[in-house]
Symmetry: C2
Subunit: 201 residues, 2 copies
């Protein structure tokens, strides 16, 4: 049976990943979204098991000790991680799985699963990213500066990704992600079934 | 300036390449079609410089001697080839160029231009290809058999292509080719301009 593909969408904070992910999921109902675990507190409007699985620090350390996380990261004092087992189950059923994770985690996936498809989401320009981060009125200037420092490092790592999608507008960025999914499905290695020439004769 | 990409669409005789190519060209007006040279006679309805450049055998041999052809092949007694110079000019202007050539030629391009994107067009099944070739009432059975032998070899070479597109219906096949073009445009190496992080700060 055909294996599913693991698709990682990543990029700096503020680039608008989650909005694009939501649009991609709407367009590709056969794609599954991998729900991460986190130790951070649930925010108003969030749903356990949908946005994240909200777990305790003890449970997180236990998953880590069992090597059950495909990737993990600590971010502003909270832990985030991707349980590997549910992903493997979906992939083995031929289902494509989408991960929306931080660039640190994306590079861990690159190491652990070289066949994963890594997509970096960039802003139209770094100045625009700066503008978007500053425009969030509720974020202290110090935090904005730190996120920009971090984004600068994350941009430097983009060469390790397979694709770069520019989030100029949601529909366009989602269209590019969709095209990548379709194109990757056309990869020669995934089309073995139609290439049976002699068997059919 | 950003270089254009060289895209080669190939596949067995009878798979319906030219119909899909016409649909792709209609959808992507910025894409240019590379017109081949041939020594075969012009058929009713064909236009010189549009379907092919119709040239003499002497002129063909001259191009070959000058190493001016990106690929060439002899097929049922006629010579076909792709002049390289016009392609290089378009690529250097950042224009993507599409080639519709026989699999023998496609593999020559693979050797000479490792960065070319090779797409193999397959029928939904080999039995269906057989049906399509036989259904052309004007083709003698011997020719059908030879084309199937040839197609069988061509299918075996498909592993050397980057992508396989299945021509079940024109719109779907053209959509897959289009997705490949969009996805290849998102390749990290082609997105350097948006990844200038520090320069903009």
């Amino acid at each position: 049976m055909k294996q599913g593909r693991l698709i990682v969408l990543s990029g700096p904070s503020g680039v608008g990943k989650s909005t694009v992910v939501a649009e991609v999921m709407r367009r590709r109902p056969n794609l599954r979204f991998s729900v991460s675990v986190t130790t951070r507190a649930m925010r108003p409007g969030e749903v356990d098991g949908e946005n994240y699985y909200f777990i305790t620090r003890e449970r997180f350390d236990e998953l880590l000790a069992r090597n059950a996380l495909l990737e993990h990261a600590e971010y502003v004092g909270n832990c985030y991680g991707t349980p590997e087992q549910p992903i493997n189950e979906m992939l083995s059923k031929g289902i494509d799985v989408l991960l929306d994770i931080e660039p640190c985690g994306a590079l861990q996936v690159r190491e652990r699963r070289p066949d994963a498809i890594l997509i970096f989401m960039a802003a139209p320009s770094f100045a625009e990213l700066e503008r978007r981060l500053s425009a969030r009125g509720d974020t202290p200037e110090q935090v904005v500066r730190e996120r920009l420092e971090r984004a600068s490092w994350e941009y430097e790592q983009a060469a390790r990704y397979d694709y770069v999608v520019v989030n100029d507008e949601v529909a366009h960025a989602a269209g590019e992600v969709e095209a990548i999914l379709v194109a990757e499905g056309c990869r020669t290695a995934f089309r073995g079934e139609v290439l049976q020439a002699t068997a059919a004769r």
